[in-house]
């Protein structure tokens, strides 16, 4: 369990030390949480977390989670909180009374309604979800029974969203039914095990349609074995459906989903070379001496890691190399070795030198313009791993097993790249980062920044949110930390609501240049002021770090002002809410011509800015607009997938669709 985390050295000693020091106690406890703790150690650590006041925790954020369950889940709470701490989340867990999930959701007087959870987890047993049917029930009747169960779940999902605007996570059903027919089971629609299998299929489909996230314990129990996840003794004694020995994994699986939704998943896989991507040392053994490729088990094990990295890249994970090596020898393997599956062009950053890897990892994060906490560092050498854990505790460093055969499993089990959506843009992201490396080369060859930007031949494609954009829009809002003026996270449901609201101005921007399409890279949401129809407030403005320094913020503001003028708006108001990461936009509004408004009510470094649109001087940029026949505002159109869209959006998406095929 939790095999990717290092084994703790002196757990009790570290815990005592943390409890004795009032300074940065949470930081010390978070460091302990980065280890492979068992269930009992997890409970002890959780008690220690309880001694820290959540308000006095800079760098940690609080999440309110409500669990509505039809089984005992109290033993899962410590692992959930400890897994949260591992990701610098302080999870405030509310456990609804046993089995009363319907009443909790439907009764406005229930304690759940006071808590106002941000996340509602429905953790139901199969017994609760669907009644057993006679074995002779036809497949059609089984499907009808499942439909009734799914409809009931959907009602609960809808209720949780409407009442709390909460993100809903539905746990899949642990299939604990004992087989009656053996291998023939799948052919008997009414057999309990088959009934649950179908229920999980249909649940997945409904969740995808409704934008509900899944916590897939059914899949996890296939990975670890049902006996690890379900212990009938615990069920009989305490109605625990998830066994205590699986609880630490359960906590991590759940918090991965929560973290992914908040943009805290890792973004970049940094790989070592010698004894990681191949067996042997290229500097000593030479290209003929290293073991890699088909033909030997050991060579295929390293090839499997390369293949997995390549698949992650297709998923949108950025790849990088960080190796202590002679750069020419390292490059030569990628160029000349016939068995290399990964190519030099698959990597957005490639660092081979003899310097400290901690320095090199910082350099890679800077070069890619991503947070150092979004790196995963994979190295077979325990000394290098220890060095990075000590120097850069925010970097994830999997404790690779001794045998390279198990490298892929270790990285996969750790769930670093958990996701809550997958779009065409994701699949192109890694390539976009590689293209950014080419843009960097252009920058070096250009005389000036101005030449560089002109040479990029940029154009922007923009419009209000359309149905097909919503997932990507919500994703960008959810995971952007740097260029983010307020860092207000809006769920997919919120975004859909804003898109459908005529009074809101929603804008999404895509940037294309001669090296390729950067995808949907910026989003603005403006709300009408309740007091004045002439005034719009910039509630949210985010931009992907991929396109920093490209003048897109200027062109975006030009577009926002033009569009708003056409709506009859007189002025913009905007807040800047500082966080640990968004310093890059602290002077954004004054740079765009806004003036500061002093208000006593503003706290915590928040600044408020104002722009009368009549005063606005359009900013000069090197960005062309892709279409001149549509204004891109379209704010009054209904958001409906079936309604015809103006050609700006459609033409673009047709391109995208072709690439996807």
């Amino acid at each position: 369990m939790l095999d990717w985390l290092p084994i703790p050295q002196d757990f009790r000693g570290c815990l005592r030390q943390a409890l004795e020091s009032p300074a940065d106690r949470l930081g010390k406890l978070a460091a302990i949480s980065q280890h492979r703790l068992g269930f009992l150690e997890t409970i002890q650590l959780d008690r220690a977390i309880g001694t820290v006041c959540a308000e006095a925790a800079p760098g940690f954020s609080v999440v309110r989670l409500a669990i509505l369950a039809s089984a005992t889940v109290d033993h899962l709470v410590p692992p959930i909180r400890v897994s949260g701490l591992r990701r610098r989340l302080l999870i405030d867990v509310y456990v609804g009374p046993y089995g009363q999930y319907r009443q909790q959701l439907l009764d406005p007087e229930s304690p759940l309604h006071q808590l106002r959870p941000q996340i509602v987890l429905l953790s139901l047993t199969m017994r609760e979800a669907i009644a057993a049917v006679p074995l002779t029930t036809t497949a059609a009747e089984v499907e009808a029974a499942i439909s009734r169960s799914i409809d009931e779940l959907r009602m609960l999902w809808r209720k949780a969203r409407e009442t709390f605007h909460a993100t809903v996570i539905q746990q899949t059903f642990l299939n604990i039914a004992d087989p009656l027919f053996g291998s023939y089971e799948r052919l008997v629609a009414g057999a309990p095990a088959q009934l649950i299998a179908r229920l999980n299929d249909r649940l997945t489909q409904a969740a995808a349609e409704d934008g509900v996230l899944l916590l897939d314990v059914a899949r996890a129990s296939e990975r670890d074995g049902l006996d690890v996840w379900f212990d009938v003794a615990r069920w009989l004694q305490a109605k625990m459906e998830i066994a205590p020995q699986a609880a630490v994994v359960y906590g991590d699986l759940l918090v991965r989903v929560i973290a992914a939704q908040r943009g805290l998943s890792k973004k970049c896989l940094v790989l070592d070379l010698d004894n990681t991507l191949w067996s042997g040392v290229i500097g000593d053994d030479g290209p003929e001496g290293i073991i890699l490729g088909e033909g030997t088990g050991a060579g295929e094990a390293h090839l499997a890691l390369q293949r997995y990295a390549k698949q992650l890249r297709e998923r949108g994970v950025i790849l990088a190399i960080c190796s202590k090596n002679d750069p020419a020898a390292a490059e030569a393997v990628f160029r000349d070795h016939p068995e290399m599956l990964l190519k030099r062009s698959d990597f957005a950053a490639f660092v081979a030198n003899w310097e400290d890897k901690a320095v090199n990892l910082k350099r890679i994060a800077e070069q890619l313009n991503i947070g150092i906490d979004s790196l995963v560092f994979v190295d077979d050498n325990p000394t290098e791993r220890a060095r990075i854990r000590q120097a850069l505790p925010m970097v994830a460093v999997p404790e690779l097993p001794a045998d390279a055969a198990h490298y892929v499993r270790c990285i996969a089990d750790a769930g670093y790249f958990e996701s809550v959506a997958f779009t065409v843009d994701d699949s192109q992201r890694a390539a976009q980062y590689s293209a950014n490396a080419s843009r960097g080369a252009l920058l070096e060859s250009s005389q000036s920044m101005d030449d560089f930007l002109r040479g990029l031949e940029m154009s922007v494609i923009f419009g209000s949110f359309q149905t097909v954009d919503l997932t990507r829009v919500a994703q960008l809002i959810g995971k952007t930390n740097q260029f983010s003026t307020t860092t207000r996270r809006h769920s997919l449901e919120d975004v859909a609501r804003f898109a459908a609201d005529d009074r809101c101005l929603t804008l999404q921007f895509r940037l294309v240049d001669r090296f390729g399409d950067n995808g949907l890279v910026s989003v603005m949401i403006l709300f009408p002021d309740p007091q004045s129809t002439d005034l719009l407030e910039i509630d949210t403005w985010v931009m992907s770090c991929r396109v920093f320094g490209r003048q897109l913020e200027r062109e975006a503001m030009n577009i926002a002002v033009e569009t708003a003028r056409r709506m009859g708006v007189q002025a913009f108001r905007a807040d800047y809410i500082p966080t640990a990461k968004n310093g890059v936009v602290s002077e954004l509004y004054p740079a765009l011509g806004f003036t500061r408004v002093q208000e006593d009510a503003l706290r915590d470094g928040v600044t408020r800015w104002f722009l009368p649109l009549s005063d606005y001087v359009p900013q000069s940029t090197h960005i062309a607009r892709r279409s001149d026949q549509h204004d891109g505002s379209r704010h009054s159109e209904p958001v409906d997938a079936d309604s015809p869209r103006p050609s700006v959006g459609r033409c673009y998406r047709a391109d995208n669709g072709d690439q996807a095929r």
């Binding site: 068992g38 269930f39 009992l40 005992t72 109290d74 033993h75 003794a233 615990r234 009989l236 004694q237 305490a238 625990m240 205590p244 020995q245």
Partner: protein
Amino acid sequence: METKRDEVPNWDSFAYVSFIVAVEMEFGMKFKVADVESFQNVGAIVQRISALLPTRSQ
């Protein structure tokens, strides 16, 4: 050893099962469900653990 469940403050069925889980994990053994329901005091649990553990070699 003579301590009974109802003599411990805040002791409930969940606390009891958590305790049993902790004992099982610590000693790497499993009680029968029926045993767990029949333990009258701490001494009975200790006795059962000794019976279930393999005899220690000298």
